[in-house]
Symmetry: C2
Subunit: 361 residues, 2 copies
Amino acid sequence: MHHAARMARARQRMEELGVDALLLSVGPDLPYLTGYEAMPLERLTMLVMRRTTEPVLVIPRLEAPRVAPQPGVFTVEAWDETMNPVARVAELIRGDRTVAIGDHTWARFLLALESELPDTRFCAASTVTGPLRARKDDSEIAALGAAARAVDAVAGTLRDRRFGGRTEREVQRDVIELMLDAGHERANFAIVAAGPNAASPHHEASDRRIEHGDVVLCDFGGVMAGYCSDITRMYVVGDPTAEVRDAYQALVDAQEAAVVAACVGTSCSDVDGVARGALASAALEQYFIHRTGHGIGVEAHEDPYLVAGNAERLATGHCFSIEPGVYVAGRFGLRLEDIVVATDHGPRRLNHAPRDLAPVD
Amino acid sequence: MHHAARMARARQRMEELGVDALLLSVGPDLPYLTGYEAMPLERLTMLVMRRTTEPVLVIPRLEAPRVAPQPGVFTVEAWDETMNPVARVAELIRGDRTVAIGDHTWARFLLALESELPDTRFCAASTVTGPLRARKDDSEIAALGAAARAVDAVAGTLRDRRFGGRTEREVQRDVIELMLDAGHERANFAIVAAGPNAASPHHEASDRRIEHGDVVLCDFGGVMAGYCSDITRMYVVGDPTAEVRDAYQALVDAQEAAVVAACVGTSCSDVDGVARGALASAALEQYFIHRTGHGIGVEAHEDPYLVAGNAERLATGHCFSIEPGVYVAGRFGLRLEDIVVATDHGPRRLNHAPRDLAPVD
């Protein structure tokens, strides 16, 4: 059972780091270790995992029916509406000196725990779980590959959809529904940015109507069988200008160069430098205003981050996006993104949708 | 401009409470005060609002284009990919002794701030914002009313949809699409729980096919113009059993009694007691395993909570759900939920969809 194996590895790291207890609430660490995902609500759900005792999932009574029993992995303890779950968690770890708490845990719960346990040192759970989660095993790479193929199909279907005359938001609705139809249990986001709007990398789809001549950036992803997808493809209504066509070709070249550079042993910073250098040789570097990529797995963004200054070296099983972009304020924006896995035989793309500037109606 | 007015009220409470600075990241406080919502990502977005200086929104460079300037409300400071935004926030509040941080802020950012500022005392931002947000003004009540009417319409449309033979997940897709069609910018959740699944109050829609005789619980809500909706209605394929019919009638009566009791000046605990007492008189109290309701506004669940032991008294402008339920493990589950506002003229329901056990095909 892979959850038990993951927990054993987490316990071993706790031992190495001198962490006495791990507290996991909302966020990806809990489903990674147990298969159970906490609801992002004011009623506390928290896995209490000490080095020496069996883990306990402290959960609101009304959510107890949602938890499938996992003998040997954790026991379940339900709290009633009038109980104080923070006090209960504090009781379970009293005496522990160093406690790691899930990175996404709500601050109000950390503050309440700190107040109950003034002598405990808290640190971020990612110090324990980050390196474990970053290196994917074969089943995880298969899951990421399946999610990638699903969004590849969506990117393909979009080529036959009408863009001109529709709003960004209408196209966004299409993208979300296509992701769900393709087997995703959840759509995390769908950026549809037309014309000058695409110069904002995280543009929120608006009621702007897509016009003839618009270059449209579509960046979307979700969760399929617990693992994330993330892809960016570009579409154009009518013919692109020579400037856009040239910039896009430079972007395709920069992305390819960065993918090829993403070998085991190369530093994250160096991969970022390759993308940046390729765009510099086309005099476009100043328009590339974000990092080259991010790790991906049970979380949409996770270690390793392909960013200048990150000396971490890529290792076998690292999965990450390679997504350089060119953003010209007030005029247009371009990005091209694939998920890549670092293997012993070199970098391997998980996305295979065509990478051209796709002509659409 | 209502954001400036809200900020002034927040500043006044900071003064009263001796809070020197307010730090807001992901979660509803930030859009409540500024209209801007932080993306739930590893790149820190944080409003730094001190008592004495102009607020600064510290934001990742690539999200800067999404921020509409709000002169007089806050200034914007963008950080580059290789900068440390936590260090920058710490610099902005150095010397402040008591700092309130948004309840939903990721623990990793609170831990990093605590490490930068070992002499600062942190507390939850809701001590500042909670009471402000709980009492809605007329425009907020109008927004909650519009969101309520939108989900009322969805509940009505569902009466004409086929349930029998379809899976819970298929009906859930319908509900989500209907909410978006009805004007919601976001669907927060859609519980569709058929037969025994409805005995789990937060059941996740499954591939279970809805059968003849199933009683189906539909609880759904989202966000419309920044304010939340939340409604529960019950549907039945064919004829309900006498047991279900009687239990449902008791539930309708209990909900009505609790709504009538929700007057300005009555304690939250007492309103909960009224619902519980009404179900007790039908010998159903043991099956009502959660509180009677929760506040609602820019957040789906917020103050005040209608739960035993909460002595807080309802005040004019408090908006909350009244949602008693009856959950019989392994057999069926029932819940009925409306949003109610406490006014000087008594409690007023914002939902008006029919409250019967709706017969569906």
